[in-house]
């Protein structure tokens, strides 16, 4: 198969839509999903269903925002507008979305400790995004200088 930049961008956007569908599915089916999960894990997690639902729905907010921002970022990249201030801002917001999700997982870890692993992962993702954001900000500056070199 002839793989190129456009196909890669399309594939990433399809993945974003797929994740958006999963997110909506998780929000709609959360009560049934977690009830089934808790039945498998009981009696240790008996009566914890409301906690899981709160974690699910509060996490859905930063995840939804992150998906929306990622879509915007990809739209700009598809339009060949890569090193622009808007994209740096998108990356900064994505990083904060990861921090927000990490905080929710950190609090959720008190009733179900595996959430702390997710917290660690989300915080590490936030750090990576922060570094990429800094690279973008620097590249934006270099591009501006290059654009104004006559």
């Amino acid at each position: 198969m002839n793989w190129n930049k456009d196909k890669s961008l399309k594939f990433t956007r399809v993945c974003i839509y797929l994740f958006a569908v999963i997110l909506v599915g998780m929000c709609i089916g959360a009560p049934w999903l977690y009830r089934g999960f808790l039945e498998l894990r009981s009696p240790l997690l008996d009566g914890r269903l409301p906690y899981f639902l709160v974690t699910n729905y509060t996490t859905a907010v930063p995840v939804g925002i992150a998906l929306y921002k990622m879509n915007g970022l990809l739209k700009n990249i598809s339009a060949n507008e890569v090193f622009i201030s808007e994209n740096t801002e998108y990356l900064r917001q994505l990083s904060w979305c990861c921090v927000a999700a990490g905080m929710i997982f950190a609090a959720s870890g008190f009733y179900y400790f595996p959430f702390w692993f997710l917290c660690g992962t989300a915080m590490f993702m936030a750090l990576i995004l922060r570094v990429i954001k800094n690279v973008f900000a620097q590249a934006e500056e270099i591009k501006r200088e290059n654009d104004y070199t006559i």
Binding site: R144, E145, Y148, T149, I150
Partner: protein, 71 residues
Amino acid sequence: MPIVVNLDVVMAKRKISAGDLAKAIDITPANLSVLKNGKAKAVRFTTLEALCKTLECQPGDILEYVSEEEF
């Protein structure tokens, strides 16, 4: 920035229009405008050479250093 571009002065002395100069040194009129208005961040030696050749002048006639206080 303390570097002042006096391109418009030299152009007026040589009586050459922006369009003609842009064509002569092979840059776009938009880029020449950026240079003329002092918005440029850097000037390539090749551009400077073409400017000096076309306008029959020295780089010092086009670029001038003005200290921050005077600026």
